[in-house]
Amino acid sequence: MPNSPSSNDDVLRDQDALRDQLVAYLDGELPDDQAEAIESRLASDEAMREQLQGLDRVWNALDGLPKATVDDSFARTTIEMATVEAERDLAAMTAALPVQQRRRSYAMLGACVGALLLGFTFVRAAVTNPERQLVANLPAVYAVDILQEVSSPDFLRKLPDVAGPLLARADDDQLAEDLSAWQTVADGDTATRRAWVAELSDNDKAKLLEAARRYRRDLTPNRREAVDDAYEQIAVANDRDSLMATALAYESWLATQPASDQSRLRQMSENDRLAALSKLARDAERRNGRSLSAADSAALRNVVQSLAGTPELTRLAKIAEERLEWFEKRLESEDLPEDRMKQGKRMLGMFRGVLEWQEKSPAFAVQFLAMAAEGRRAWPSLQSAAELAEIREQAQTDWRTVEKKLIEALSPAGQKSIMLTTNESRRRERLVEFVRRASRGAMRSFDHEEFFASDSLTDADRHTLLGLPTEQMRKRLEELYVERVLGGFDQRRIPDPFRGGWPGRGGGDRRRDRERSSFQGPSGGRPAGPGRGREGRNPDATEPPPERGRRGPGLFGPGGRGSEVPN
């Protein structure tokens, strides 16, 4: 019995629906769940597989359709027709104006449409003339090498932060020149570009033509499209000039690297390349030691000396003084076992020593301020978390004042070295490093004869010095220099507080600590002031501090956070 019409229709509808799904599956247009359903059915339905293969075969057969190609005359004639239309537009615009306005406006309209006509005229010729093709593609040709290294504008935006030290090594003047040239060719119309090319030296022209050859012949069509695309993305970005400056600086650095490294970087993904460049930048910084010029070193020393006694540098010392007085009183008033009393006095001696450094050495005070701004516990056992937070906030405010003065004192190159990073903490660390080096460099820059003749010495001093044997005179000059110019002690003897260089904490010189000559001076030291406890200082005060982590009762302040006292 034949099928009924309605069932035939149903079958056809089902067949149409199946074909719809199969075609959409081949085109990748099915949602995932429907695609999976098709795949499941294909595994077991041979008829369906044959249908799918049939549709696919036929689709592939369409590749046999002839493909048209047009010659150069197509673009040329099309552009000529567009030019004719532009001329007609100009004529129509001017004809519609009243006579007086027409005369005034023609120049303006003519300039606008004329520029377009000029551009089109040159483009028309550019289709067949290789030199004019160079002009047409000039921005991409000019930067063809670097555009191959740039994966995206975002890569260029991230680059200064992760690899600033590498980019800073570029020659600023040359970069400015290259950027200006690129801006000229990118913004210029065809006539401007032709004029720019014509004014190049023979050597530069040859380089440009070589770049054009690389662009046109050495690059595959895909690579050329990638270069054009990279240029397009930069050209339309709001921060176009900044991106191009970064690209040129990157190219300048890249040119100094071995070809194998350049190739390796080029093949990496954008994220991997940024990570690799970041590591290279850190390695370069460590190797170069972030050099400080002699002029900047001297400038920093002067500024640091001028900051002595300012509220920014004395505030922490005043807080510490109050805390130490409280600590001292508690030690005296509490009935502690002998060993704990001894330990407490040792700590007190240590803290007093640091306080004296702060008071005597502005350079140390600057470093101490930086450490407080970082939130580091400058006075273990003496500060609670709440106090630390309050101190940190004030220290950050004070640091910003100090930082500004320090940076202003530097040369442009020195400032650039500091401002390489926008990260506040890293900038602070870098500046402190400079201050330390500058202050340690004071003795390196010491000149005996110059100091002898300076105003720091009186005639009586000079008379006394001249009575000494040569070697003793030289030594005495150094002592006087430390006493009168360096505030009483040699910064070289002060450890780095950032590296835990408290007296006896391992970062300092234990032999020096025992001699304690760094702030007393070789002449026997200054007389102890009242209430400072220097005369009563425990000779063992520079022994190692108590072991960390063992906590005692709250002798050392509220909250007990600082109770790092051995039981």
């Binding site: 719809d20 085109d27 002839p66 197509f74 552009i79 047409a136 054009d228």
Partner: protein
């Protein structure tokens, strides 16, 4: 219909040809030339297959690019550039087909003069193609494919050409033809069903189906 700023940004960022067209909008003649070089062959090919006349296709393709040039100041990137361009190309081809139809000029399958084959040769080709084990050579298959495409109606042809040679999605083809993606799915399915009817027997069993 106005285009949202986010759509404009999306296509500007993602499509280099959109960025070129924005430069054309700003009267950058170099960008206009670049766009032409990228698309001229493709536009001529699509139009040639749509109207079945290679000789007219170049003129019509020029018309397409001139329309692009005239529309440059009003250009807003609301789609991929190729979608916009082939919408214009489809309009131009449709208009041409209509006027050709009015003048009774339409003959979508290649005439004997165009392929170089005369009816005797075509019969011989068909006869030899009846041999079950025979596979078509390239020239025969090319002719068969052209005939198969000629069996499609205008919309089916546009959809097939844009999907096959321009890689447009159903959504994008829908924008060109002013149809929904679901309608495009059905359209392409029917078109490929017809192509399969026209071609697969030829490919499997070696005979040509008359497109009449």
């Amino acid at each position: 219909m106005s285009v949202s700023e986010s759509t404009i940004q999306r296509y500007t960022h993602a499509d280099p040809d959109v960025r070129l067209m924005l430069r054309v909008r700003d009267d950058d003649a170099v960008a206009f030339e670049e766009l032409m070089l990228r698309y001229q062959n493709r536009v001529v090919s699509v139009i040639a297959h749509l109207i079945g006349r290679r000789d007219m296709a170049e003129d019509l393709a020029q018309d397409v690019f001139l329309r692009v040039y005239r529309a440059r100041k009003r250009y807003v990137p609301g789609a991929k550039f190729s979608t916009w361009l082939f919408t214009i190309a489809n309009n131009v081809a449709s208009n041409a087909l209509r006027s050709m139809s009015r003048r009774k000029e339409v003959h979508l399958q290649p005439s004997p003069g165009e392929t170089g084959a005369n009816p005797l040769e075509l019969s011989a080709a068909a006869a030899s193609a009846l041999m079950p084990t025979r596979q078509a050579d390239n020239a025969e298959l090319r002719d068969a494919v052209q005939r198969a495409v000629a069996t499609l109606n205008e919309r089916q042809r546009v959809a097939v050409l844009l999907a096959k040679f321009e890689g447009l999605s159903y959504i994008e083809i829908g924008e060109v033809l002013d149809m929904t993606p679901q309608a495009i799915k059905s359209l392409l399915s029917r078109a490929r069903g017809k192509l399969r009817e026209a071609l697969e027997p030829y490919m499997q069993h070696g005979h040509v189906i008359d497109p009449k």
